[in-house]
Symmetry: C2
Subunit: 266 residues, 2 copies
DNA sequence: ACCAATTTGTCCGTATGTATG
DNA sequence: TCATACATACGGACAAATTGG
């Protein structure tokens, strides 16, 4: 050793990432406000002293992290990442990590009853109306199916999902809603498999109705309890289709559940 | 009207986004497997028939979404997004949406006791050892503080957070762990404000100890109940510092809670 | 409605540092 | 050690879309 000095490793972040960090800080510090258009690429390149291509790469990072939104060919604007975007990447991550249906269901047994209870405490007339609209649509589906028409499974699970998302929304707790979103999102493909086999359409509708009645009566204990039953029903149905609780949700589910979010992102 | 035809709107996604979509599909379909190096930019440019710069911008999108990881100056490799990354952007989004402490606390009252219960059911010896290490470290901190030394608040809340994260991990439910992560992450800055004012260090330590005892005894009801008390304690402390439950977590918290994740991302 | 300036999207070519064989 | 491949970064260029008069 020639020296006593210890030099800490110099970590060189690529320039485009420094651009990203710098702009991110400006946004978080409030110097760039939400809704404002992003400065032109040339100007940013001048200010940072880098090439325009480098700036563009940095902006792509901002774009994907949801801090910048591009509205058609127009000027990109500062924005705040919205729940659904985060939730869809969360769902994707969970599937890639091969989470099991058991994990998903356990989480739903924690979150859904709690959300139902919150909803019962905070729901107002407009929320009730929204739920009622959802229920009558689902009622129509069920009647149509029981009348012999081929079941529109996609529409049905869509309504099912909507019901649970309305509940999360009217509960007024965004942290719970965010946690809840990936769970419902991942339930959809599973529902698409289970429903046509077991034909439990009416059973789902009835459960939603009971929950709705509790919400209308501000009976939060009832809402929690019915939701608990509802989710437990889902597990039983899953087991009845001879699927293993501990099998990972496979990649097929992914391609289906990803169809919606990708539409949102453009 | 000259025509009866209705033309659906043509949506022109930029080429760099098409590159992103294409590569993403390859990954999700399993044709590009995790750990594999990404094909060279020039090859991708050839295959897609676009310029290398365009490919690079697409890769930046993949990079930020966690599907591609670059390891120093080496070839970027396919990877799966990890929880912590998602959780940190979730926390950021929640703060930007001005969530209130009440929302945060309500969510924790749902998640933490459930996680404690899961942990009690699934914890093994190595998990207990890990928790014990955390407890003795916190014990040392408390003794030092009570001995008159100035409190190292940062270290203390770090240990506090670690305790809760170990619990989430040993519970073995990754969906719950993911939902839980942003909550603990957002509690940290709040804890940094509360603890030095109320000096409830020992109270936190005691709560953790009670929970640990329940885990060691596989007493899941006890673990749930103690965790419930522990979180309720936190709310009371928050109110005692004359902070309003319904005030949004301000941006100051953000800069602190963002310090950790940014280190992780390089 | 038209025109001119600005800005984004995309492309081409090139130089440099580094990792791998 | 040398050579090759590759990622990073730069400079310049042009078409199309947007913006603002």
């Amino acid at each position: 050793m020639q020296e006593n000095h210890e030099f800490s490793r110099i970590e060189r972040a690529p320039a485009y990432r420094l651009v990203y960090d710098a702009i991110e800080r400006q946004i978080l510090a409030g110097r760039l406000r939400v809704g404002d258009p992003l400065p032109a690429e040339i100007q940013l390149a001048d200010q940072f002293g880098v090439n325009r291509s480098t700036v563009r790469e940095g902006i792509r990072l901002l774009e994907q992290s949801g801090l910048v939104e591009r509205d058609g060919g127009k000027r990109p604007r500062i924005s705040v990442p919205h729940y659904l975007d985060l939730a869809s990447s969360a769902s994707r991550a969970l599937i890639l990590h091969s989470v099991t249906f058991r994990e998903l269901w356990e989480a739903s047994m924690v979150l859904e009853p709690a959300i139902a209870e919150h909803a019962a405490r905070h729901i107002d007339q407009s929320g009730l109306d929204e739920l009622l609209g959802n229920l009558t649509a689902m009622q129509a589906e069920v009647v149509s199916i029981e009348g012999g028409k081929p079941a529109d499974v996609l529409a049905f699970v869509g309504l099912d999902r909507e019901f649970h998302e309305i509940l999360a929304k009217v509960g007024g707790n965004r942290v719970l809603a965010l946690a809840h979103e990936p769970v419902t999102s991942l339930f959809i493909p599973t529902g698409q498999v289970i429903l046509p086999r077991l034909k439990t359409y009416r059973r789902v509708l009835d459960a939603h109705r009971y929950i709705f009645d509790c919400l209308a009566a501000k009976d939060h204990a009832g809402a929690r309890s019915w939701m608990h039953k509802h989710m437990d029903d889902f597990r039983r149905a899953y087991e009845l289709t001879a699927l293993s609780l501990d099998a990972p949700l496979d990649a097929v589910s992914l391609s289906m559940s990803e169809a919606t979010p990708s539409m949102r992102s453009r």
